[in-house]
C-alpha cells in the first residue's frame, strides 16, 4: 500500500476516531500491513471450533458405555448422577418443559446442535483440567449424555459422520434476531 493512502487513512481515523460515529465499512483505514503469514501447522493446531455441519470434527469414536465410565470419573462431581445437575449445570432431562411455568434448560432439552456439546466439552471441560480428554473420550461423553434421554442408543458409537446427523429435540427452538428482529417482534 502507498504511504499517502496510509497517511490519508490515519488522518481520517484521527478526525473521526474519538467519540465519533462509526466509520462506514467502505472507509476502513489502511494499516501498516504487519501481519505475518500464519504457518499452516499453527492454524491446524489451533482450529478447535466445530460447526453444526460437522466441519472441524476430528477422527475417533466413542459410545455411551465408554462415556458412562468417563462421566463418573471426571464429570459426576459437578454435574450429578446421570447429568441431573449439581454445582455444574444440569445436562439431562427437561425435554418438553420449555413451554411450562418451570422451563428446564439442559443440554438435552435446549441445545440445538450435538456438535456444540463436542466443541464445548473438548475445549473447556472438565473445568479443573480443560483440554485433558482425548477425542475418543469426548465422543463417548457426548454419546453418554445424549443416551440418558434416549437421543442416541447406548450401543450407538458417535464419530465425525454420525454426530452432526443427530437431531436434537430443540433443534427448531430458536428465532434469529440478527440482522433484525423477525416480523411481529
Amino acid at each position: 500500500m502507498s504511504i499517502s493512502k496510509t497517511a490519508a487513512a490515519l488522518a481520517a481515523a484521527l478526525v473521526l476516531g474519538f467519540g465519533g460515529a462509526a466509520l462506514a465499512a467502505d472507509k476502513v483505514p489502511a494499516g501498516p500491513g504487519l501481519g505475518k503469514e500464519a504457518p499452516a501447522d499453527l492454524v491446524a493446531k489451533w482450529s478447535i471450533s466445530i460447526l453444526p455441519d460437522g466441519t472441524g470434527l476430528p477422527a475417533g469414536k466413542g459410545d455411551s458405555r465408554a462415556g458412562a465410565t468417563i462421566y463418573v470419573r471426571t464429570c459426576l462431581g459437578c454435574h450429578g448422577t446421570n447429568g441431573s445437575g449439581g454445582t455444574g449445570g444440569r445436562l439431562t432431562g427437561g425435554i418438553g418443559s420449555l413451554t411450562s411455568d418451570n422451563p428446564i434448560k439442559t443440554v438435552n432439552s435446549y441445545w440445538p446442535y450435538a456438535t456444540t456439546i463436542f466443541d464445548y466439552i473438548r475445549r473447556a471441560m472438565p473445568i479443573t483440567a480443560p483440554q485433558s480428554l482425548t477425542d475418543d473420550e469426548v465422543y463417548a461423553l457426548v454419546a453418554y449424555i445424549l443416551s440418558v434421554d434416549g437421543i442416541v442408543k447406548i450401543t450407538d458409537p458417535l464419530d465425525k459422520d454420525t454426530l452432526p446427523k443427530i437431531q436434537m429435540p430443540n433443534r427448531n427452538g430458536f428465532v434469529s434476531f440478527w440482522p433484525a428482529a423477525p416480523k411481529g417482534f
Binding site: 466509520l23 500491513g33 489451533w46 411455568d101 435446549y110 427452538g173 430458536f174
Partner: protein
C-alpha cells in the same frame, strides 16, 4: 429592593417550584441558584476570618490551630497509586466458589461511584474459567478461516497500527437479571446492576486487520476465541466486525487489566458483554455462526411459547438511580441531587425522565456531557424532599426512540425465570425516615 435581591427571590421561588410531583425541580434549578449559595458561603468566610484573628492574637504556633496533616511531612511516592485507605466500600463484590474461585462474576459498586468512567480495578468481571496469566511477548492473534492470507499479529506489531480511543460501556447480558424475582430483592445497585462498567478503550480497528487478511465473500461471521481455560468463544456477524469493532489493547490509558483480557480483548460497542471476548487469541472467519455453547445454551432468551430469541446482540436502553438507592438513604428533608446512569446499545441517550409519584408525573433530568453513543451517561436532577414517603423511578430514551418498558411489560415478553437483557423501569421507595427500599411498581 436591588436587582440581585429580586433575582435571589425569584431563584428561591423557582427552587421551590417543582416541575413534577413530590418535589422534583427543574434540571437547571441548582445552576440558577448559584448566587444564593454564594451568599451563604460569603457569610461563612467572614466568621472564619474573625476566629483566625482571635487565635493569632494569643501568639500560639500555627500548628496548634490548623489540621494535623498541615503540621507534618506527608507520605512518600508510590509506584502505582491506590484509593484512599478509607474507601473500603468501593470494591467489587463476588461470591467465592471453592472449586472454581475465578469463575463467575464480580460487580461494580455503582452506588459509591460518580461520573461516567468506571475505575479499571472496579470493572465488572465475568470469567468462565478464571483469569489466565498470559505472557504478552508470547501472545499471538491468529486470523484464519475464509481469508486469502491467514495472518498472525503480535502485541508489538499491533502497537504500530493506527489507534482509536472510544468511551464505551461493556454490560453482561445477565445484568439486571434479579428483577425477574417474584418479590423485589432488597439489594443495592451493585448487586442489581453491577455487571455494567464504562471505560475508555484504545486499540486497533478489527476491520483493518480483516482487510489485511482479505475476507472471502463467503465469510459472513467470525468466531472469536479467548486464550483462557474456557477457550471462551462467540460468533460475531461480519457486518459488526467491519464496522466499529476494535481489538482493544488499553483501558483508561493503561494496558488492559488481566481480568479484562490482557493483553487484548474484542470490543463490540453496544453488544452484550460475553461477545467482547477477553484474552483474544484467535479469529476464524466462517460462513455461518458456529453455534457455540455461549450463543445457544446461554445468552439466548426463552419466550413464553417455548422458542428462544437468538443473536439479539444489542444491549437495550436502560437506566438506574444511584443516589438515593438501597442503603444510600436520605438524611432528612431538604435539597438533594438525584443521580444515576443511563445507557443504550443502540446509540446515544436522548432523554432521562424521573418520577417521584410512580410514573404519574415526570421531570426531565440533566444529561452530563459528554453524551456518547454506546456509553454510560450520567444524569442528575435537583430535588426537594419534604419528608413524605414516595417512590423514585427513572426512564431512559435513546436517540433511536427506544424507551424502557415497565417491568410487567418486559416480563410478558419472556418465559418464567428468563433473566437476560432486562431493561424494565426500576424503583426505589423512601419511607418517612429516608430509608430506601427496592419496590416494584
Amino acid at each position: 429592593m436591588d436587582s440581585d435581591t429580586k433575582r435571589l427571590r425569584r431563584v428561591a421561588a423557582e427552587l421551590d417550584e417543582p416541575v413534577a410531583a413530590n418535589g422534583l425541580l427543574h434540571r437547571r434549578a441548582f445552576l440558577r441558584g448559584g448566587i444564593a449559595f454564594t451568599g451563604f458561603a460569603a457569610a461563612a468566610v467572614t466568621a472564619h476570618d474573625a476566629a483566625a484573628q482571635a487565635a493569632a492574637a494569643t501568639g500560639e504556633k500555627l500548628s496548634a490551630r490548623t489540621l494535623m496533616t498541615q503540621a507534618v511531612m506527608g507520605g512518600p511516592f508510590t509506584a502505582y497509586g491506590q484509593p484512599a485507605r478509607y474507601e473500603r466500600d468501593a470494591v467489587r463484590e463476588f461470591t467465592v466458589n471453592q472449586l472454581t474461585p475465578g469463575t463467575g462474576s464480580s460487580r461494580t459498586p455503582h452506588h459509591v461511584l460518580e461520573g461516567m468512567i468506571t475505575p479499571s480495578g472496579l470493572h465488572f468481571q465475568r470469567n468462565h474459567n478464571g483469569v489466565p496469566d498470559i505472557e504478552p511477548n508470547q501472545h499471538q492473534l491468529l486470523i484464519h478461516g475464509l481469508v486469502k492470507r491467514p495472518l498472525t499479529f503480535t502485541l508489538d506489531s499491533l502497537s504500530r497500527y493506527p489507534m482509536e480511543s472510544h468511551i464505551r460501556f461493556v454490560e453482561c447480558a445477565g445484568n439486571n437479571g434479579g428483577f425477574n424475582a417474584a418479590e423485589p430483592r432488597q439489594a443495592d445497585v451493585q448487586a442489581m446492576h453491577g455487571l455494567l462498567s464504562s471505560s475508555e478503550w484504545t486499540g486497533v480497528r478489527l476491520a483493518v486487520l480483516l482487510d489485511e487478511a482479505g475476507v472471502d465473500p463467503k465469510g459472513k461471521w467470525i468466531l472469536a476465541e479467548g486464550g483462557d481455560g474456557a477457550s471462551m468463544s462467540r460468533s460475531v456477524p461480519i457486518e459488526k466486525c467491519m464496522d466499529d469493532a476494535v481489538i482493544a489493547l488499553y483501558q483508561n490509558g493503561e494496558r488492559i487489566r488481566p481480568e479484562q483480557g490482557y493483553p487484548m480483548r474484542l470490543l463490540l460497542p453496544g453488544f452484550e458483554g460475553n461477545m467482547n471476548v477477553k484474552w483474544l487469541h484467535r479469529i476464524q472467519v466462517t460462513p455461518t455462526p458456529t453455534f457455540t455453547k455461549d450463543e445457544t445454551s446461554k445468552y439466548t432468551e426463552l419466550m413464553p411459547n417455548g422458542k428462544a430469541r437468538q443473536f439479539m446482540f444489542q444491549q437495550p436502553v436502560n437506566s438506574f438511580i444511584t443516589k438515593p438507592s438501597y442503603q444510600i438513604n436520605l438524611q432528612g428533608p431538604g435539597y438533594y441531587e438525584i443521580s444515576g446512569l443511563a445507557w443504550s446499545g443502540a446509540g446515544k441517550i436522548a432523554k432521562v425522565e424521573i418520577s417521584a409519584d410512580e410514573g404519574k408525573s415526570w421531570a426531565q433530568a440533566a444529561l452530563v456531557d459528554p453524551v456518547l453513543p454506546m456509553a454510560v451517561t450520567r444524569f442528575r436532577l435537583p430535588w426537594k424532599w419534604s419528608g413524605q414517603p414516595l417512590t423514585l423511578v427513572s426512564r431512559a430514551t435513546d436517540e433511536k426512540k427506544n424507551v424502557q418498558p415497565t417491568r410487567s411489560q418486559w416480563l410478558k415478553l419472556y418465559a418464567p425465570n428468563q433473566g437476560y437483557k432486562f431493561n424494565g423501569i426500576t424503583a426505589w421507595a423512601a419511607d418517612g425516615t429516608g430509608q430506601i427500599r427496592h419496590v416494584y411498581i
